[in-house]
Symmetry: C2
Subunit: 159 residues, 2 copies
C-alpha cells in the first residue's frame, strides 16, 4: 500500500533521546538508554527498537517494535514469532494527518502478527487499523487491553 | 498506619460495572467481566481483583491487585509471591485528598512486594508512595515503567 511518509529506524544518540522528551510516553526505557549511552555501555548511533517519522527535521511520530519469539507466543495460532508494538504516539500538532496509520502500516509490512496494549479510548483507532481486541485473559493480560492484528492464515490462539 | 478511608474489595455485579465506566482505564478486563456476568459464567457478586473506596455511595477510587506466583517472579530477591497493582485511579473531582495513598497503603498491608507499571508522569507519585523505579530490562519490561515496593528484607532481583 502507498505510504506517504518516510518511516525510519531511529538510531540511539543524544539528539534522538532529546527528541523523545517531546513524547508523553517518555519513561524508563528512554532513561535507561540515556544512562547506557552516557556510560558508553551502548554505542552512539546504535540500533534501537524505535521507528519514527520526521517532518521538517523534527521527530513528530514514533513507535517501538519488539520481536517476541514463537516459544513465548500466547496470542496467535499457529504459535509463531510476532511483533509487540508499544509507545505509538504522534505529537499533538501532527495528529489526524495519517502519521499513526503510516507507522502501523510499516509494522504490518513485516508480515508478522502484531500485538499491542491499547491505551484508554483507543478502541476506534485500532479498529480502523484492522486490529481486533484479543479475548481477555486475566493471567495473560493483567489489566492490559490487548489488540491484535492477524496476517493471512493466522488466527487467535485459544487459551 | 492510620487510614482515613474504608477500602473495600469490590464484588462484581452490574452496579459495580456501571461505576467502573466512570474510570478512564475501563477496558478489556471490565468488558470481559460484563460479558461473563451476562452469560452467567460468573455469578453475581463474585469476588474481583478490584478494591475501591466509596464516598457518599459513589465509587471514587479503585485499583486492581493480582497475586503473581513466586515461580514467575523476575523482580524481587529472594524470589517470592508478589502483588501486581494496576488501574489505580481516583476520579478527577476527588484527587489530592489521599484516596490514592489509601489504596496503596492497603496494598502494602499484605506485606508482599508490589510491582506496578507507572503511567506517564507518575514518577513523583510513586516516589511519594515509597516505590522505586526497577532497573529497566527490555525483555522483561517491554516499554513499561516498572515501579516496585520492597517490604523489609526484600531487594531487587539482579537479572
Amino acid at each position: 500500500m502507498y505510504n506517504p511518509y518516510n518511516v525510519e529506524r531511529l538510531n540511539i544518540n543524544f539528539k534522538t533521546l532529546e527528541e523523545f522528551k517531546n513524547f508523553q510516553s517518555y519513561g524508563a526505557q528512554e532513561l535507561s538508554m540515556e544512562e547506557d549511552l552516557k556510560a558508553n555501555i551502548i554505542e552512539n548511533d546504535s540500533e534501537s527498537p524505535f521507528y519514527g517519522i520526521y517532518f521538517g527535521g523534527k521527530l513528530v511520530a514514533r513507535m517501538s517494535l519488539y520481536k517476541i519469539s514463537q516459544k513465548f507466543d500466547r496470542y496467535f495460532e499457529p504459535p509463531q514469532d510476532y511483533l509487540e508494538l508499544w509507545k505509538l504516539e504522534v505529537l499533538p500538532d501532527y495528529r489526524g494527518k495519517g502519521y499513526g496509520r503510516a507507522l502501523v502500516d510499516f509494522a504490518k509490512s513485516f508480515n508478522l502478527p502484531i500485538k499491542t496494549n491499547g491505551r484508554n479510548n483507543s478502541h476506534d483507532f485500532w479498529d480502523k487499523m484492522g486490529f481486533e481486541p484479543a479475548t481477555y485473559n486475566t493471567e495473560r493480560d493483567r489489566g492490559e487491553n490487548p489488540f491484535v492484528w492477524f496476517p493471512k492464515g493466522v488466527s487467535e490462539q485459544t487459551l
